[in-house]
């Protein structure tokens, strides 16, 4: 017999002050409070975290990797967004 599925949550941890929260994995829990407690026990047993976020996995909207070409094409074609696109005379020094 297979049990009724317990919801899946994605776990994000802020490792040090000043760093953004980073995805570390996932846990199962019936509600948000238990998801936070599970995430603490599973992913921060050695003081890895200062702050934990949990998000229901079903609430995440993700881009489709097979369409990454189309998705990110606008960024590929705009080389003038990079500093190296612009010529600055050498004798001006570092800019």
């Amino acid at each position: 017999m297979t049990d009724k599925n317990t919801p899946l949550w994605e776990v994000f941890i802020r490792t040090r002050n000043g760093m953004a929260h980073r995805h570390v994995g996932s846990v199962h829990a019936a509600d948000a409070t238990m998801a936070l407690q599970n995430a603490r026990d599973v992913y921060t047993r050695r003081g890895e975290g200062l702050s934990v976020w949990v998000v229901r996995s079903s609430e995440i909207t993700a881009s489709d990797p097979s369409e990454k070409g189309m998705m990110f094409e606008p960024a590929d074609s705009k080389i003038y967004r990079h500093p190296t696109f612009y010529d600055v005379p050498d004798d001006v020094g570092h800019m």
Binding site: K4, G25, V42
Partner: protein, 332 residues
């Protein structure tokens, strides 16, 4: 704690040679494959089985050691063992989460373990008879696990590789605490030293079997290598393990239970005697000393926890309904 070469290859005809070629090119370029990327069905199935069996091994591995938590000889040893066993539970959870990204549910995976349809590492079907067994497990079993797991940190499947990196960081403590127990016993009373030697005698050969069948008999190595799920053969890893471990045993005055063991000056390797593969096959087939006990215990704790899982889900559902009703009232 460890993946064993338990995976049997499933012959699957290439479904889409063109995409498969592109997939292989990505792997050859050491690109990571991520959950929603296209992948051949055989790759997905192989990984689900390997990661799940690895996860099951972590979970079942908690049983032989958990057996000694209440009987550890000091508070320090008890705290360390408790932390180690808790880590193993964590390893199981990282790995189940990685397997789930391939499109199976946690509940299905747990059911496959409990019904005996999927295996776990054969090493956990041996009993832990004395406190010295806890030392030997940390030193040899976790030591062998580390040998196996380090190459997996570079496995082609992203979530598996990332889980392995976390696990490997934690394993070093496991091995050191085990060896420390052995050092203490080996330097203790003659009875304690004899207990350490006895544990080594019983666990040495099963530990060598953890690397799986010899290369000649292991048919699935080629595909796993091509897919960068495996980077070294079973025999290569086993030799590395023997070379690393023999001097550690000698250092504390213990004898490896193998009268064929000799150091080859030319190759720089320790050569060892023949492994009893009939015993290995017998344990895998379910006839080891503790196979039935382990599965029975896992099933019993799963069943005993059923009411907790049901209650947690019912409570979450009740709260959700109340909140929704509250919102309705507020809107009126």
């Amino acid at each position: 704690m460890y993946t064993q070469a338990l995976n049997t290859r499933e012959a699957a005809a290439p479904e889409d040679p063109e995409r498969e070629a592109r997939f292989q090119a990505r792997i050859d370029a050491e690109e990571k494959i991520e959950p929603n990327d296209w992948m051949p069905e055989a790759y997905r199935r192989t990984l689900i089985r390997q990661i799940a069996q690895h996860a099951h091994s972590e979970i079942v591995g908690m049983l032989p050691e958990g057996n000694w938590i209440t009987r550890a000889p000091s508070l320090k040893r008890k705290a360390a063992l408790l932390a180690k066993v808790q880590d193993e539970g964590g390893h199981g959870l990282y790995l189940y989460a990685a397997a789930e990204t391939l499109g199976v549910s946690r509940e299905e995976l747990v059911a496959l373990l409990l019904s005996g349809k999927q295996k776990y590492s054969s090493i956990f079907n041996y009993p832990t008879l004395t406190w010295a067994d806890i030392g030997v497990i940390g030193w040899l079993v976790d030591g062998a696990a580390i040998m196996n797991q380090i190459p997996l940190c570079r496995c082609s499947y992203g979530p598996y590789a990332r889980a392995m990196i976390r696990i490997c960081k934690e394993e070093s403590f496991h091995q050191r605490q085990g060896y420390e127990i052995m050092v203490t016993l080996a330097r203790g009373t003659p009875e304690q030293k004899a207990m350490a030697q006895d544990a080594l005698n019983r666990w040495w050969w099963p530990a060598l079997m953890m690397f799986g069948p010899p290369d000649g008999d292991s048919q699935h190595t080629d595909t796993a290598m091509r897919w960068r799920i495996k980077r070294f053969t079973n025999d290569e890893l086993r030799q590395k393990f023997v070379d690393a471990t023999v001097p550690q045993a000698h250092h504390i005055g213990l004898t490896i239970p193998d009268d064929k063991l000799t150091f080859n000056d030319t190759t720089g390797h320790w050569e060892f005697g023949a492994i009893d593969w009939a015993e290995f096959k017998n344990v895998i087939a379910g006839n080891g000393p503790c196979n039935k006990q382990r599965l029975k215990q896992r099933n019993a704790s799963h069943d005993a926890g059923a009411w907790v899982r049901e209650a947690a889900l019912a409570y979450a559902e009740k709260r959700r309904r109340r909140e929704a009703a509250g919102r309705l009232v507020a809107a009126e």
